[in-house]
Assembly symmetry: D2
Amino acid sequence: MIVILKKDPNKEQLESLIDWLKEKGLQIHVSVGVSQMILGLVGDTSTLDIDLISALDIVEDVKRVQEPYKKANRKFHPGDTVVKVGNTQIGGGNLTVMAGPCSVESEAQIVAVARAVKDSGATMLRGGAFKPRTSPYAFQGMGAEGLELLKLARAETGLPIVTEIMDTAQIDLFADVDVIQVGARNMQNFNLLKLLGRQEKPVMIKRGLSSTYEEWLMSAEYVMAEGNKNVILCERGIRTFEKFTRNTLDIAAIPVLRRLTHLPIIIDPSHATGKAFLVPDCARAAVAAGTDGLLIEVHNDPEHALSDGPQSLRPEAFDKLTKKLLALHAFIKEQEA
Amino acid sequence: MIVILKKDPNKEQLESLIDWLKEKGLQIHVSVGVSQMILGLVGDTSTLDIDLISALDIVEDVKRVQEPYKKANRKFHPGDTVVKVGNTQIGGGNLTVMAGPCSVESEAQIVAVARAVKDSGATMLRGGAFKPRTSPYAFQGMGAEGLELLKLARAETGLPIVTEIMDTAQIDLFADVDVIQVGARNMQNFNLLKLLGRQEKPVMIKRGLSSTYEEWLMSAEYVMAEGNKNVILCERGIRTFEKFTRNTLDIAAIPVLRRLTHLPIIIDPSHATGKAFLVPDCARAAVAAGTDGLLIEVHNDPEHALSDGPQSLRPEAFDKLTKKLLALHAFIKEQEA
Amino acid sequence: MIVILKKDPNKEQLESLIDWLKEKGLQIHVSVGVSQMILGLVGDTSTLDIDLISALDIVEDVKRVQEPYKKANRKFHPGDTVVKVGNTQIGGGNLTVMAGPCSVESEAQIVAVARAVKDSGATMLRGGAFKPRTSPYAFQGMGAEGLELLKLARAETGLPIVTEIMDTAQIDLFADVDVIQVGARNMQNFNLLKLLGRQEKPVMIKRGLSSTYEEWLMSAEYVMAEGNKNVILCERGIRTFEKFTRNTLDIAAIPVLRRLTHLPIIIDPSHATGKAFLVPDCARAAVAAGTDGLLIEVHNDPEHALSDGPQSLRPEAFDKLTKKLLALHAFIKEQEA
Amino acid sequence: MIVILKKDPNKEQLESLIDWLKEKGLQIHVSVGVSQMILGLVGDTSTLDIDLISALDIVEDVKRVQEPYKKANRKFHPGDTVVKVGNTQIGGGNLTVMAGPCSVESEAQIVAVARAVKDSGATMLRGGAFKPRTSPYAFQGMGAEGLELLKLARAETGLPIVTEIMDTAQIDLFADVDVIQVGARNMQNFNLLKLLGRQEKPVMIKRGLSSTYEEWLMSAEYVMAEGNKNVILCERGIRTFEKFTRNTLDIAAIPVLRRLTHLPIIIDPSHATGKAFLVPDCARAAVAAGTDGLLIEVHNDPEHALSDGPQSLRPEAFDKLTKKLLALHAFIKEQEA
């Protein structure tokens, strides 16, 4: 960490700051320039509160050199984390395909979709039981009943299930889910993150609408700091000025996170774009860039099109796509071998 | 609502759509152009799920004409909402000044700050007991004990208190708080919003980091749809590409919300800018633009500067500023009379 | 175009508006609702000034249905545009690889890089002679002399050259360049666009830092409206809140533009990310998503590393990457055949 | 400037870097930590190319401490710049009100508007002769003839005129204009900036749609580095995710720029919001925050409403507003005295 001081800092305040930093176990290197003095802090600064130092009268600016996350940091954990879910593994060279409808609507629907996506090559079933909707007047999901239907679909197909938790009070309902998803709007629901850190199920954290990589990794750190190492990151598009697509898929997140963290990375092209016709090319891009998996929305029942989002693929389109993606993944893997 | 159809839509699907819309009690006006057909939907479309319609094969685009919020909409409630809190009122021509430290740290601290800000003209005391921090290693607030200290400060000064709730599980602890704050990161924590709608205390909803006006008002609608009409909106800066300031204060939010909604509007220049030297001019701007109130962070103890954020004002600076702001408010009010 | 009127519009103003619209050759469909009246305009609205209508007292909002661009619009030109440059073609199923240094610095440098990238499979040479730099104190490029050196490198290798024009006054200097590049900061330099429309050389328009797809296509329309159909679009990252990468590569731009326009699309992963270690995965993603080409910065002289940007690849890295990209392109093409 | 090195940097490369920096006249302070080495550079780093250093293999990151602009920097020029224009002064405690139509359309129009705004208290006349329009099919302005009409209006009223230049080739036409405006889309048209630096007329630089304060000040630096000190900055809203307003007015720009630079600051609430009903409150906010002036669009002819933008005020509304703004400015000035 580097502390840039204002011109001619008050001597007593400076000494007090230096003493305080030394108490924290840090070494301090002082650079005195013509118009500014700089303190270089050497040691573990991850638990240092940058806001406290910035608040000091004598300080002009503080710049971090070291990342503020430790358990999620590849520097301290060079090997890839592989998360085991049922018979599958997320990370470690696999391409995990999570697929299913936006919302669980009925047993018939979820079982039919689960079978279809399994046949196409999906290795996990997704489906929303608790739905975060912008409007209080929109369908809020089937709730606990939806979770039961997901388990039924799992029993029928053997596909592990991933579904979203919205509140700490729901935790007991998620005892028999395979992967618990934290939605974009809850990425900084710190109480929820802590609670999920105190249990053992894998947690998939979607990136917040306007969250930086660092904030996202700090949310992973919240879970990991409590003891749960099974964290998966899911990029689902960020909010920008461009409104043609629902969000902007940040494809560079894949190689960026690969460098910064050891955690597996999933790409959700359905929410990232909001339009079904963009999903195939974006999914292909993600596989080529080295994603560990994809989260894709699949239409449940083309005959009743009123029940799905505009970003969902029909089962036939998903089938074609998945086969190509798996072949592409194999091709890329061989190229990189 | 306007539904723009693709060229040569399938007749059966079109009829099925029109029937479904009529069942919802809507009138449909059809405009047939050379290259496109348009449906104009007339009636109450606020409960219509725009995503469902967009998902149809025959639909190219859907555009809302009517706002999706009703209870928060000024069109249906022309008169200003005035929220009563203890002896004060938020809205209705007053300038409410909420002030206090970022975090409650001790009895001595919070009581001293409460006295100071009251003497300067503040009408409410703010202070964080539960603190949403980006890092799990940063100070997370005093929790329940902090709430007790806030109540002590209230007893000493008579100032009503506003403080942040972070999770539905904390609701009982907030039974004796005056205004419950929903932080920016929880603006779309829909379970929390619903719960706060089912109790009677005023709720102050901070705008999410990258939330549109419409999304923000939909969050207010969540609270109001459950029965609680005492909702206050607080602009605290939005996330943009500019990083010199912590966020970008959206000053136009004041006249925009004045037009769209009847709810009172508070401006938080401290979080919006992240730098104490910007607070006075931004507070002045907010008053001149017609805000109903301000939320300002005040340093507790200049002798121990390590305990406050870089955006906090010292009590003397706050005192000078508040006196000027109250005079400015009176001046503007007279100009507009 | 849809015009949403305010409640109870003034009759005379409404009639005057309707007459004016009819004079423009448009048909008007009126939908009268309980709280709002809507006009659906049918006909060619591309030359209608949306701002003029929005400004009317009786108008609440105006929404476009039709895109405002015509010559760049795939709806009116279904077949892909293929731009011929020397012996190569941009678009039409090829993968064009444009490579070279950020700036031309000397004959030795540019000739050496040109030879290296040609050997690796590049089909065009890029290099900056006029450099738009944020600081007036930074190197501004070699100017006219740089253009001569590019031509020398072309003579040596046969690679066509693409280089940036910064001002209308430079046009004569570009008479013997193969493709004229309009930089992101000049995307809405309309005088420059018009001038480039009045000559015949292909023009490659980089997307502005915060330009929407529509604005970008309107810039292409400026060139095409003057008669030059040889327009190429280049995505180079957009500005967002995320600052770890220089910009955010918008990978979805590829399938979006494929749908909206018939013009070829190039991806520049070097500027989009600003970091060399991100270039290979982002380039792979672009090829998988169906780009028509790539623009990649290549280090000129690893021995004098002080002369290149942090996003440049060394020739050996570029060589490895290009071979893989060409194989990936062939693989994707076969999958999609 | 601080250079953060990668772990175990190559010794030869490190020595070569240190030698190169010393040649530039800089002192280097080395801080060796457990996992990282840091170089603190002391001296004038404004002409150092940060990209060159970042590109080095041994460098992980480079952070600026000193601002990269000098002539525009308040640190080196503590006193406010006051720009003289005809009989008025911009900066130095005045409130300059620039007003007029979006576009010059006829002699009758511009003279009538000029008289009206003068009567209301405006001190400068604005009007567009060359209009940057997103669409090539929209009205592009009257061009040179428009400039002549502006001069006629000046002759009639005595109001100095400010109007936009779009291209270096137009410079001779602007010989008799009072203030030359550089539009947001040309903020980084560096050739134009240099040319305007080589003449003496005041230059008003509008902030680019997504330009940071630093980039904006660097554009001012381009003009000043060529010798022209008469630079005025104009904030006109930045591009964000919020689309209800055309742009987001960054009100904090006023106190931020006041700290960073000595140049005068103008606020354009008309373009910043894009809606006339938001202009009065935003203008008030700007005055309260200490702006040096305002740029306001005024309707020319309410009878022919088809010729103005939705953000223009009618003369009567402008008259009322300006009187209040001048009184508010006097009130604020007295408060701050």
